[in-house]
Symmetry: C2
Subunit: 453 residues, 2 copies
Amino acid sequence: MYIVLLSGGSGKRLWPLSNDLRSKQYIKLVNDEEDTKEKCSMIQRVWKQLEKSGLASHSIITASKGQVEIIKSQLGNVDIAVEPNRRDTFPAVAISCAYIKSVMGAKKDDVVAVLPVDPYTEDAYFETVKHLEKILTVSDAEIALMGAEPTYPSEKYGYIIPGKQGKEYIEVKGFVEKPDKERAKKLLDEHAIWNCGVFCFRLGLMEEKAEAYGLKLDYHEMFNHYDKLPKISFDYEVLEKSEHLVAASFKGLWKDLGTWNTLTEEMGSDSIGNTIMDKQCENTQVINELDIPVVTMGTKNMVVVAAYDGILVADKNQSSYIKDVTAELHMAPMYEERRWGTLKSIDRNSKDGEFTLTRKIKIFKGKSSSYHYHEHRIEIFTALSGEAEMILEGVKITLTQGSAICIQANQKHAIQAITEFEYLETQVGAAVGNDDITRITFNWDEIPVAVLN
Amino acid sequence: MYIVLLSGGSGKRLWPLSNDLRSKQYIKLVNDEEDTKEKCSMIQRVWKQLEKSGLASHSIITASKGQVEIIKSQLGNVDIAVEPNRRDTFPAVAISCAYIKSVMGAKKDDVVAVLPVDPYTEDAYFETVKHLEKILTVSDAEIALMGAEPTYPSEKYGYIIPGKQGKEYIEVKGFVEKPDKERAKKLLDEHAIWNCGVFCFRLGLMEEKAEAYGLKLDYHEMFNHYDKLPKISFDYEVLEKSEHLVAASFKGLWKDLGTWNTLTEEMGSDSIGNTIMDKQCENTQVINELDIPVVTMGTKNMVVVAAYDGILVADKNQSSYIKDVTAELHMAPMYEERRWGTLKSIDRNSKDGEFTLTRKIKIFKGKSSSYHYHEHRIEIFTALSGEAEMILEGVKITLTQGSAICIQANQKHAIQAITEFEYLETQVGAAVGNDDITRITFNWDEIPVAVLN
């Protein structure tokens, strides 16, 4: 059995901590199961649970290109199916299956289970995932789904409506999305279960679906022709057209940590970062990743998040509508996490058509950049701490605290951290940002260095 | 009649907008009386009112050294009595009177009225101030005070208890500070009035009081021996020992804008800066001076302030206790306003005993620094916008966008803005901050410049 963890999401639901280059699943906010003093990210938590249940060796993560570095920094060298661009869940599942077939050698009859990356759950969940393979065989259904037994008539979740109840599985009669309170109560009476968003099927099914769009289940082919697949969800394209669906249910902890309301309940502490709360605060969680303090006084049922991208002050119930509000925001992410370090925007200027962008950049010990140049900007580096080597037009220069260097447009340069190295980079020119870059080589050891006499 | 505006205050009551180098009275938050689209500061508002009432020409402002530049930038070239260090209101009133005598040539029998800098009031207030001189003469009292007629039984203000009520004035029987509701109601029945914190007396009175500490009412002498005066309030040292006090009352708008609760009522709009409020917010004011957005959702009766020094999220009633909470904070101010421009700390690093401090500095057109050097640090300047001239060890250098310059320890340098000029300054060394500076000359035109051939 193969497992696909779908690591998508726009990053807007946990604004301001998440952004397009920093998705909620990578932020270290939830309690580590084993060490409650440590916080881990959602993806780290679910991966640990996959390892524990023996499923990890056949698991892959499907993510966009921009997420590859952070996944590797959090999980090490795991299998990642890369989406060349964001489409929807049907194409994402298709390219996942292509990866499983081409890279991992899976066969037509092998079973694949697709899991969301952000369930907050416990071991029983993964045992039920394993059980899905069995019920797929026993029932001869096209797709097996997974549900959690409801503990209350939630209006926020989707429900699976049961038909005939077998010994090992449930026939699926239909679905209901986010019912109102009354309908939710009736659904509980009808033994409906919460839809966990898990699909399990045989690889052959996706082979047929891909062929319908003229594509083979081949990773490289699909990567190069990803645009042939429509922007449509797996639910619409596959699930709703399916004639025979079954489901298994499990009883136990299961929560969607997709909103501040649900996430703050699992934080384990009321505050993270530099915060002061007075004694009149009630049921309030404060997360602060800025250097300046956050002071809360007399707040009730609130979540306060101060992050590089913005500040959120929300009544907890109201916070679930954040996507509607932040849709108005069109700002470049202020903070990016990479495999080799982090980037934080600290100043932007645009005046009379002249642009500057200053970022504080941290490079982890031993990591290096590519050898590259920029056509339309100069860059000024000011070293803040640690030690690094720079190669500028073939000449090696050592940078230590207080070193400053000015890199002209078209000058080739690369940097490698000898110890953890922090510096300010000020970009000045007609085009600042990430686009104006031409790479000569990615590998530090291959950069030509002049020998000075 | 001379007017002293006491511009003291620790700056903690309107945290995070106010700090030790940025007091509440200078922040442009209140509506301008004449142009409601413009915001002005409390001191600008009260100074305009003094001008309107004809009192400004005999008015001085008493403030600490650090406030001189911002007062001049907001009010122009006004008379300022400088406190060499912060003591309390008795020493502050004494040095004010010394200034009025030495610099403005006032005589023993001249009348001085001391006013707080932050009343939110109307013209009638200043007419009553003028009236104080008359009642001081008619009553032959030592001190005349001013009260506002209460409009409700406030528990937050102090009260003046009236004795015999004359035609032109009230004999003062005593004082009550912040009574409870019941007591406040009784005070209203007794015709008590709110104490506006205004004292009026003849210069001779302070002459005697200063002599008791071995000091003459001479500005330079008092400036040099300010420590001889005890750290005690004018209330304790003078008012409570006084045998004959009278008061005048006025009817009209009078508010203490000293807390977020009262200040936000006079803002005239619900938000300042980059903010988004959803429709579920009620009675909420948001002030944001940061570049990143503040989003508020479903907040009720709250004040949210995001400033360079920190972030406050407070229930309005609770916000009046802010001094107790922020007393725990011991941070250097992140933002400073000067006569010549502004300074904003944007990054601080301290690692293994090495310090760096990066500030974004703006110099107004035509303004310049002194010619100076630092013993224990180097400085790297990166020009962001505008144009400036620098003199470095006698050599003139032009700085435009993208210019970077490294100033070694002990290298003499000065900078003058040709157009409004913004740059990043990174300090690196054993001592970063404002202390390590040796000035050669303050005047740009006197800096020796080498002539290059």
